[in-house]
């Protein structure tokens, strides 16, 4: 496999880890609601990461596509543009059942999740 053609984290780095202004806008500038949805978002990120790992072993493409799609929607909603973009690439990779690409993107996604968690921690969330 020619790994030079696979995407890298830097390919997604134009998009912000988390756009707090956008996140607040999505919840009508309600700080309390933002804190509530971020908690749910973080919980779901960890759950989805685990589910992807399991479904990847079974090569359950239908499920992988659904999870990636869902991750894309929630990430974009909360302003986690970079994570949403990675999830979108995973959704497309699962549609074409491209295992090496999906596997590679999953590694990038895990880095992306760490970045979101670090960003949130730095901002007291």
């Amino acid at each position: 496999m020619d790994t030079s053609k696979l995407p890298r984290m830097i390919d997604f780095s134009n998009a912000p880890v988390l756009d707090m202004k956008k996140a607040l806008y999505r919840v009508h500038n309600k700080q309390e609601l933002l804190e509530k949805v971020i908690l749910v978002f973080k919980k779901n990120l960890l759950e989805k990461k685990e589910t992807i790992a399991t479904e990847l072993v079974n090569e359950n493409w239908e499920s992988l596509k659904l999870i990636s799609h869902s991750l894309k929607g929630s990430s974009w909603t909360i302003g986690a543009q970079r994570l949403g973009d990675i999830a979108y690439a995973m959704e497309k990779a699962s549609a074409s059942k491209d295992l090496p690409l999906f596997n590679h993107l999953f590694t990038i996604l895990q880095n992306g999740i760490d970045q979101v968690f670090n960003y949130l921690a730095e901002n007291g969330l």
């Binding site: 609601l33 949805v37 749910v40 596509k65 929607g73």
Partner: protein
């Protein structure tokens, strides 16, 4: 549709998005009732139980997706089991334009809005329908 006692059904697998939808609807219509389903199977059960006036429907969900939900509503209308059709607004992260257009053309669908939801878009629709 009257503003008081309006019933909404949110069919959406993502808990965070359900919370955001719910807060938005409650703020816009303080006396409304909101029912929530995590997938289309739950959504159909809740639909027959609560008869919502308006439904916010996600398309891609585990177990049963929005497509089946729409098929059941349309079949119900065709066979006259459903006397009144609710207004269905599809809120989806699907990006394929052809797919979006196909959804928009369905009999049961009043409008299609892309995720991330721009709430002013939904607000304008709702205010047009609800007096």
């Amino acid at each position: 549709m009257k503003k008081n006692n309006i019933r909404f059904l949110i069919v959406e697998d993502d808990e965070m998005i359900r919370i955001i939808h719910k807060d938005f609807l409650e703020e816009l219509f303080p006396n409304c009732k909101i029912f929530e389903a995590e997938n289309a199977a739950q959504g159909i059960c809740l639909y027959f139980e609560c008869r919502p006036h308006l439904i916010l429907l996600d398309m891609m969900m585990p177990l049963m997706g929005g497509e089946t939900f729409l098929e059941i509503l349309e079949e119900g209308h065709r066979t006259k089991i459903l006397k009144e059709m609710p207004k269905v607004v599809v809120v989806t992260a699907i990006k394929d334009v052809k797919e979006l257009m196909a959804i928009g053309k369905r009999f049961a669908v009043e409008a299609v809005i892309s995720k991330p939801l721009v709430q002013s878009q939904l607000k304008a629709l709702l205010e047009d329908w609800i007096s």
